[in-house]
Amino acid sequence: MSVAVHLAGWGAVTGFGAGVDTAWGAVRSGRSSVRPRERSAAWRAPTSVAAEAPGLAGVAQDRQALELAAGAAEEALELAGIEPGDVELVLASTKGDLSGVCRGSEGRGLGSPDRLARRLAARLGVPAILPSVSCACASGVLALALAARRIRGGRARRDVLVVGVDALHPFVLGGFGALHALDPGPCRPFDRQRRGVSLGDGAGAIVLTADADRSLGLRILGHGGANDACHVTGPDREGRGIALAARRALADAALEPSDLDVVHVHGTGTEANDRCEALGLVEVFGGRTPPAFGTKGQTGHTLGAAGVIETILLGRSLLDEWVPSNHGLEEPDVDPALALAREGQGAPGARRGLKIASGFGGVIGALVVGR
């Protein structure tokens, strides 16, 4: 990359509550926010659990995604030490605000991420909105890539605030349930007993800048994308798309696989995704991978927010030189060369990590993040 892309600030709201420190502290200590459903208890779905963000029960449904996004964005802006007027906004979301879609639902969100972006921009006082990214569960990573591409290409007039968000909703819970993709209990990515995903509320925000003086000490070193081009809901059986995206990100960063110290996996908890992702990653590394961890067992799958939240958690992993354990993993059931951390462990000298994400439509995104 000819222009360095630095992380200047970040923020998050998850099932653990508000704040990156809150989320990272919980992840690092091995806790999970996937709990018996309360706010969503009445919604029909074949699961008893979800990662519900505290405090949303009193918020009208058509404002929940907005409140999550604003919370994360404000934390990121504060940490970056900049005003909303100093950024352009990129929103990543699978369904934005679904008001006006379901029977009896008022409002004009209509499932459009762009409409949610405009509401968020108005709420924050951000003057410029870039295209929103709507690529299912890969939205967050691809939005970060879009922002990095813009900064690197000299098209960014300001810093770029990337916000990924999705709030739990009967529409999405019902959809995943109808696809038989939900674990009846807490998800267990990569475990032999895994039965699907656990969904969660979430918002993550990252301020990206070309200004090294305001860096948190982390950069996006490279990014890459791919499409499995084989099925609209299932992954390539050999993980070839995962491998392709990861290689492209490495090439963009001018790095070799051996230069990476940590991997943050997508790890949803479905049989197919976990198995195929492992195959793809092992193929990239030509054997045993660096220590790998995923966090959907602790935050739930936050869909459009996942890529941003999980990039933040990867960043904290590098800064703290610590790889958390994989929550719920007792008996791994994937290629054993994927070095899934069984316990939290120090990672002295860890400098660079890989983040992978994939979504419906075969879309895949990969980031290389480094100190």
């Binding site: 209509l110 109808a178 499409n227 879309v363």
Partner: protein
């Protein structure tokens, strides 16, 4: 290669679809224009669907949603099968922008939420990236894929993103498209059925005049 506005460097093919019919042109295919009546079919969403597309059977076409059908047809109309070298497909990006998104599928899916059986297969089509997948799997496009939710009805945002991808070496070729299909008036969203696609290589310049100008 002649686009509607004359020679356009880097443009390998173009296709567009609207309520009147389907038009396009590309390397290896003559420029064509046909009404839905002449095609003996209806616009995406209508009951009469293609069993063959441009002389090829497409057995799953009738099962996909209207947004995906429109995008698939617009891309087929670019002549991609002849114009895009096989060896380039792994590095061909697919960038699509939409204003309306999946609202049509959203409304249909939402109606099933109260049914005894919720429509799982339809849920997949409530995510716009699924329509990209329908194009990618038909043509083996394994380059970066991106779907943008944008207020503008033209394709300029997708186009600018592809230009950046080409400049930064992320792909060697690209399909750039805009698609908006909404079959029923809902809230402040009018009925619409349009899709445009261009197929470009690394020499692309000026194609935005067609994609944006219409």
């Amino acid at each position: 290669m002649n686009g509607p506005d004359g020679d356009v460097r880097g443009l390998l093919g173009w296709g567009e679809l609207d309520a009147d019919g389907l038009r396009g042109g590309g390397l290896g295919t003559r420029r064509f224009a046909a009404s839905w009546t002449e095609l003996e079919a209806e616009p995406p969403g209508g009951p009469r669907v293609f069993r063959t597309l441009f002389g090829r059977r497409d057995p799953t076409f009738r099962r996909i949603d209207a947004m995906s059908r429109a995008l698939v047809l617009a891309v087929e109309a670019t002549g991609i099968r002849e114009a895009l070298p096989q060896e380039a497909r792994t590095d061909t990006a697919l960038v699509v922008q939409t204003r309306v998104g999946c609202l049509d599928a959203d409304l249909r899916f939402a109606r099933t939420l109260d049914d005894e059986i919720v429509d799982g297969p339809l849920f997949a089509y409530t995510l716009p990236s699924t329509s990209l997948g329908e194009v990618a799997l038909r043509h083996g496009l394994r380059g970066p894929s991106l779907c943008l939710s944008v207020e503008g009805a033209a394709g300029e945002d997708a186009w600018h993103e592809v230009l950046a991808m080409l400049e930064q070496g992320e792909c060697s070729h690209a399909v750039v498209a805009q698609v908006d299909v909404q079959l029923q008036q809902h809230a402040d969203v009018d009925v619409v059925c349009t899709a445009r696609a261009v197929l470009v290589d690394g020499h692309a310049a000026g194609c935005d005049r067609w994609l944006v100008g219409g």
